[in-house]
């Protein structure tokens, strides 16, 4: 192992330790801080509002359907991209 890679590993480990400490200290807020403001409304009124018993679906497709549109777009982009990248014409030149 060369000196360069040793230094690299030490740096990475240092970064991770710092991050770990920061996260475990910073996120030590306990459960009482999790105030479910919006979710309490969803739980109380969700079925009446949307008619869906499954609250996850109710949020996914009714309250936050715009997010779902975004998600569908991401999947669409990925399919488009995979076909764009792996289409035959583009890759033929690399064979030769």
């Amino acid at each position: 192992m060369s000196l360069k890679s040793v230094i690299r590993y030490i740096l990475v480990l240092l970064l991770l330790v710092v991050l770990a400490v920061a996260m475990f200290v910073g996120m030590d807020f306990g459960k009482e801080y999790h105030r479910r403001k919006v979710s309490d409304y969803y739980i109380a009124r969700g079925v009446k509002d949307t008619g869906a018993i499954n609250l996850v679906t109710a949020i996914y497709l009714n309250y936050r359907a715009y997010d779902t549109l975004g998600e569908a777009t991401v999947l669409f982009v990925a399919v488009l991209g995979v076909m764009y990248l792996l289409s035959y014409e583009k890759t033929r030149d690399e064979n030769s």
């Binding site: 690299r8 590993y9 990475v12 970064l15 991770l16 991050l19 770990a20 996260m23 475990f24 996120m27 459960k31 999790h34 479910r36 919006v38 979710s39 969803y42 739980i43 969700g46 079925v47 018993i53 499954n54 609250l55 996850v56 679906t57 109710a58 949020i59 996914y60 936050r64 997010d67 779902t68 975004g70 998600e71 991401v74 999947l75 982009v77 990925a78 991209g81 995979v82 990248l85 792996l86 890759t91 690399e94 064979n95």
Partner: protein
Amino acid sequence: MSDKIALTLFLIGLYGLIAKKNLIKKVMGLNILTSGIVLFFISLGYEKGLTAPIMEKGITDVVDPLPQALMLTTIVIGVCITALALSLIVRIYRRYSSLDVKILTGEGDE
């Protein structure tokens, strides 16, 4: 407790993404990182003794449904990024016949 595990998973993924030299392993690191985040979100809503958010008759104490709904989106995004990264790697492997991270910084270009 579960959010601590999720964070550990996140850090493991971060380590994989930063330190591994194989491109496929980097993608694996990215996946672990995403799973860590998903687990973190899910653990936010969870408390002991609560049931799934299916509001059938007589059920009132349920876990937080919002993070669960959001995580569906994150999972799809994770899948999409993985698919793209893999297809890029497949083509890079065809071009350079190597999966070493040195490719990314331009060594071996003509």
